[in-house]
């Protein structure tokens, strides 16, 4: 095991009593609770952590947060494999097994690092300029290799065994960021009386204060305010939680990491996504330090100055002993001083000619070497930095080093604020972008607003907290926060992007975008910021260019001779940090993807051997296994049984709507194409509804229960749409109609008994019921009670046989189904499924979903005669548009197969005999069935009206099965055209 040779003997916010074992590329190491994977790697002296995207250059750890472009690892194996994770955001957990990425065969020796040698050819956009020949399909060959070389980590191909959860949460004030500004805002808002949610991505509160020594004034300030916040039961502290996006309605997307300190307990979610709806939001998201651009600025050992300080003070790691700190501002000097205090040999190379004298004096006091007007122009070393070339007023010099701390200034973390369209605004004094004007319900504080000093952050946070609470109507008096002045003088007096002196100077580390690439983009006219990004892939990495955006923008500005704001800004899109897709899906996976809808007889169907089918959300019996070996055998047997004896079908999935009121008949007269006003009480009628554009919307039967009350049924698929549409018409178009409509779909268990023996079965099941044609004629209604539940029997047929639809209160559904089966046993009553149902209706020539396809009219479906001369119903006017009346419009016909041993298929294209089978033909077959009655296949088709002559032939072509079959055009009603079976 590797000793923690870079760990300091004391200090830091790690728990030394709690060692944690982990491994990196199979090598076992140890860290402590309180480490991140990155700090633990540094403590163990690991400098080489990853390889870059394009050139496979060795990379180390640049940052201490989610902005990390380099140190990406993969955790886990098989279904738990998780690539592209920044080591800087991973809380070290016992047994964590991390692997480096994008290298083969090993991190130290990576074959593809030869890409670096080809760098002159691999300039930005080079793909666009070549690989175009020699043939049209050549790209496919090149692409194969390019895809293999691209990508960083490898995903698993097995299902993820872990759980995720999505939660809904509410707050008055949401505060994003647990640094000094956010903590101060939370305290103020809570004291004002608001319900507060404080969101912090880290596992510790404190933000930039965690980079301070763990035993100083900052630490006591932190302890005090954290204790204060915990004293409010209205404050929710959400640690390990990233705000990944801010969405309309002030909904903040949060993701909480719950599994990093060990596997989740059984059944617990490893990550939780929370949808936090806040009345007001305070953004206190801090700022991200910028790297500097110079040759080989990506060498392992180059670190942001603030990150280096965090590793030293928070994690008690001294990653280097010969340190160069290079800066354009004062803040980075604090890193120099702390490293010197920890015993490192430190040189400050400040690009400014005259840094503040106080800093220079302090440096002299503690033995830090200061070189002013000096910059790094090159770095040496491969897998770890060994030395730097410095250029200053006295020319160039070489300096040995094992850690280079860079600070090119700071960029406020404005990402979340811009998700809802607040445009960033350039602030010249800090040379960075801050949010533009917020709407009334959003506030900002601290470094995110460009106010970098801790004292200002606390003050600004306090003010924002008070205002955010006040926006929610919470204005209790609030005492001033305790002060903390760290005496920072973070100013950016100078911005300079030194030109590279040979060697690559990286702007975007992860995507391997160099200054030369920016220059090339400019030269070729890709100078709009979005063009620059897209042409060079700048900012497209997993870090979303958090450290590179501003550098690229200022580089392009310099090339264009324009200011930064003239050059543009970029749009920050959610998520702020990447979110696992599984976390967003939460519990809604597998069976829970969509809820199941079950009829009251569901369990009986399973017990009776039904093969179930998903129909929308419903589960319906497709066929019953005892009817046949497969669906094709079973449906024909079930059909035969209906035609010869009787069948029982669960039709509970039909939409059922109660329509009541003095104007109910008038209402139905308007919404149905055929009339209902004259329907006698106690009678049912088939009805068709149109859309406003005159196309058929849905069909069903409606029964008049009383003068002012109707019982409507709709198709299973359209039930919800029909209900909403009816409500729409009543609420918006005809509010004067006194009609109440209520879905009663779930109220009723519904079943249909169909077949020549259905009357006898009904009589056996309901001994007291008069089932005579006189008492219960076709389209007649019977209403009573059965076993304490409401009962409705409507004599309706879909199959063409004498049939009864029986509706009983849902609680009695199973009981009645069993009763019917039992009563029907002597009559060979057997249940049948939706496949047989569909076949029976085809034989009878009833249209359904395949014909009512959202493109057909009443006339197309042969239903025009139902309407006669009626008008003033929904869809009537536009159904008369000329193209909908054209003689060549396809209309419903019946087809029967006239070739022995062949069959019809739904989806076959129809041609005239002798016509070349090409194009769209004259129509298509919509539905087919084998007809036991006819002894061959029959089908419904939509066929051009000008050739749809009954008795003539068409050719049905099914290229996917290389089938061509002749069929005769016949009436779509294949069975009992006189309806004797219905009435008899």
């Amino acid at each position: 095991m590797n000793a923690q040779n870079k760990r300091l003997p004391g200090g830091g916010r790690i728990d030394r009593s709690y060692p944690v074992e982990f491994s990196f590329d199979g090598q076992k190491m140890a860290g402590y609770r309180g480490d991140t994977l990155a700090s633990a790697l540094l403590a163990n002296g690991v400098t080489l952590v990853g390889r870059s995207f394009k050139y496979h250059r060795p990379r180390g750890i640049l940052s201490a947060g989610p902005e990390e472009p380099n140190a990406l690892v993969t955790l886990g194996t098989a279904g738990r494999r998780e690539p592209n994770l920044p080591a800087t955001t991973l809380e070290l957990g016992e047994g964590m097994a991390a692997e480096s990425q994008n290298r083969w065969p090993s991190l130290a020796f990576d074959v593809q690092s030869v890409n670096g040698l080809f760098a002159p050819f691999l300039s930005a956009g080079f793909y666009y300029k070549t690989f175009m020949g020699p043939t049209r399909r050549a790209w496919k060959v090149y692409e194969h290799f390019i895809r293999k070389a691209a990508g960083l980590g490898r995903a698993g191909t097995e299902p993820d065994p872990d759980r995720y959860e999505v939660r809904h949460a509410f707050a008055d004030v949401a505060i994003v960021g647990g640094g000094p500004a956010g903590l101060s805002a939370a305290r103020a808002a809570a004291a004002a009386g608001a319900r507060v949610a404080l969101i912090e991505q880290d596992f510790l509160l404190g933000g930039q204060l965690l980079a301070e020594r763990s035993d100083g004034a900052a630490a006591s300030w932190l302890n005090q305010i954290e204790a204060e916040l915990k004293s409010f039961d209205t404050v929710t502290l959400m640690k390990r939680t990233s705000a990944f996006g801010v969405y309309d309605g002030n909904v903040i997307g949060l993701v909480e990491q719950r599994d990093q300190v060990g596997p989740p307990r059984t059944g617990e979610a490893r990550q939780t996504v929370t949808l936090l709806r806040a009345r007001s939001i305070v953004f206190a998201t801090g700022a991200i330090e910028r790297p500097m651009v110079f040759a080989n600025n990506d060498r392992p050992g180059v670190m942001l100055a603030s990150a280096a300080r965090t590793y030293l003070n928070r994690f008690a790691v001294l990653p280097g002993r010969k340190v160069i700190v290079t800066a354009v501002n004062d803040g980075a000097w604090r890193t120099a001083f702390d490293y010197a205090a920890a015993g490192a040999e430190v040189t400050v190379a400040d690009l400014r000619a005259a840094p503040p004298t106080a800093l220079v004096a302090e440096a002299a006091r503690i033995g830090v070497t200061v070189r002013t007007a000096t910059r790094i122009v090159d770095l040496h070393g491969g897998r770890a930095v060994r030395g730097a070339t410095l250029a200053g007023p006295y020319g160039q010099s070489e300096a040995a080093c094992d850690l280079v701390c860079v600070s090119g200034g700071w960029s406020p973390t404005v990402h979340l604020t811009s998700h809802l369209g607040v445009k960033p605004r350039y602030r010249e004094d800090i040379d960075g972008f801050v949010p533009g004007a917020f709407p009334a319900d959003r506030f900002g504080a601290g470094a995110m607003m460009g106010n970098y000093a801790t004292a200002d952050a606390i003050e600004g946070g306090h003010r924002a907290g008070v205002e955010a609470a006040s926006f929610c109507g919470k204005s209790a008096p609030v005492s001033a926060p305790s002060k903390l002045d760290l005496g920072e003088t973070i100013t950016t007096m100078l911005r300079e992007i030194p030109s590279a002196q040979g060697g690559k100077a990286f702007v975007d580390f992860q995507m391997d975008v160099t200054t030369k690439d920016v220059e090339l983009a400019h030269r070729e006219g890709y100078e709009a910021v979005e063009h620059l990004k897209r042409y060079t892939t700048l900012g497209m990495g997993t870090d979303q260019g958090k450290t590179s955006n501003f550098l690229a923008l200022s580089a392009m500005a310099a090339l264009r001779g324009a200011t930064v704001p003239e050059t543009g800004t970029t749009t920050f899109r959610p998520p702020f940090t990447p979110v696992a897709i599984g976390a967003l899906a939460g519990r809604a996976t597998g069976h829970h993807f969509k809820p199941f809808r079950r009829t009251p007889m569901h369990d009986l169907h399973l017990a009776n051997g039904a093969d179930m089918l998903e129909v929308g959300l419903w589960m319906r019996p497709w066929f019953y296994k005892q009817s046949g070996a497969d669906v094709n055998e079973a449906y024909v047997a079930e059909m035969r049984n209906v035609r010869q004896a009787a069948g029982l079908m669960d039709i509970s999935t039909l939409g059922k709507i109660d329509v009541q009121g003095p104007d109910a008949a008038t209402f139905l007269d308007r919404v149905y194409a055929n009339g209902f006003a004259k329907l006698p009480v106690g009678r049912a009628r088939y009805g068709v509804m149109l859309r406003d554009d005159g196309i058929v919307f849905d069909d069903g039967t409606t029964t008049r229960l009383a003068e002012n009350r109707f019982f409507m049924t709709t198709s299973t698929a359209k039930a919800a749409d029909v209900l909403s549409r009816l409500e729409f018409l009543l609420d918006t178009a005809w509010p004067e109609l006194r009609v109440a409509i209520t879905s009663v779909s779930d109220e009723w268990a519904a079943m249909s008994v169909a077949g020549p023996k259905s009357r006898a079965i009904l009589g056996a099941a309901f001994p007291s019921l008069d089932v005579s044609n006189e008492a219960l004629p076709h389209m007649g209604l019977h209403e009573s009670q059965w076993e304490g539940c409401a009962l409705r029997i409507v004599r309706l047929s879909y199959s063409g046989e004498r049939a009864y639809e029986i509706y009983v209160g849902a609680t009695a559904g199973e009981q009645l189904w069993s009763r019917l089966l039992e009563a029907g046993r002597p009559f060979d009553l057997k249940p049948y499924g939706v496949e047989a149902l569909g076949a029976l209706r085809v034989e009878k020539g009833h249209v359904a979903g395949p014909e009512i396809d959202g493109r057909t009219t009443l006339d197309d479906l042969g239903l025009g005669r139902m309407v006669g001369k009626r008008s003033s119903f929904v869809g009537d006017v536009l159904r008369r548009r000329p193209a909908l009346l054209a003689p060549d419009r396809q209309r419903l016909v019946g087809l029967e197969c006239i070739e022995d041993g062949k069959r019809l298929r739904g989806g076959a294209i129809l041609f005239l005999p002798g016509e070349k089978a090409h194009g769209h033909g004259r129509g298509r077959i919509t539905s087919v069935t084998f007809s036991p009655e006819r002894g061959h296949y029959v089908g419904l088709a939509l066929l051009a009206g000008d050739v749809a002559t009954e008795g003539s032939e068409v050719v049905a072509v099914y290229p996917m099965k290389a089938e061509t079959v002749r069929a005769r055009i016949v009436s779509p009603v294949f069975l009992d055209p006189q309806g004797e079976r219905l009435h008899g």
Partner: protein, 163 residues
């Protein structure tokens, strides 16, 4: 959660729906109030408990009478010039949820603020539970009923069980 403080029981849920016509609402309500012998909830989300039922206003002109367990549902005679009623005694299930962890468990089911005044004990809220319409009746600090369509009830129960 290892052993959450939470219990769930499921039962039938007899309901009667009554609705008044637009333009006749005042008369409808006074007549209904007289017939039931109690005042009606004034606005949507309010409930009034009376005898063995709870009256809930579920829409501006629509009320539900939710009958206690074991009560037989029946229809209510309404003057057809004032409104109408429909028995919804069969189509819904009532989930009774209770326990200290109820708020946390429900937060994975519905997007309603458990601590808002509109969700306080005695209030009713119609909302979406995994795409399914439910009526939440808040019965106490740590309990509520969810009234859900029968066809979805088992699916929602499975969802709760997997929480």
């Amino acid at each position: 959660m290892a052993s959450p403080d939470f219990s769930l029981s499921v039962a039938d849920c007899p309901l009667i729906q009554v609705e008044g016509w637009d333009g006749m609402l005042g008369q409808f309500e006074s007549s209904l109030s007289a017939a039931l012998g109690t005042k009606l909830p004034a606005s949507v989300g309010e409930t009034v408990r009376h005898k063995n039922f709870v009256i809930i206003r579920v829409a501006p002109r629509r009320l539900w009478l939710a009958l206690d367990d074991g009560t037989q549902g029946s229809s209510l005679a309404i003057d057809p010039d004032l409104g109408c009623s429909v028995c919804l005694g069969e189509g819904r299930m009532r989930f009774s949820l209770a326990g200290a962890d109820i708020a946390s468990i429900l937060s994975t089911c519905i997007a309603v603020d458990w601590h808002a005044p509109t969700t306080a004990p005695g209030r009713a809220v119609q909302t979406s539970f995994h795409h399914v319409p439910v009526l939440l009746i808040r019965t106490s600090e740590t309990s509520c009923d969810l009234v859900a369509p029968r066809s979805f009830a088992r699916s929602l129960q499975d969802w709760l069980a997997d929480g």
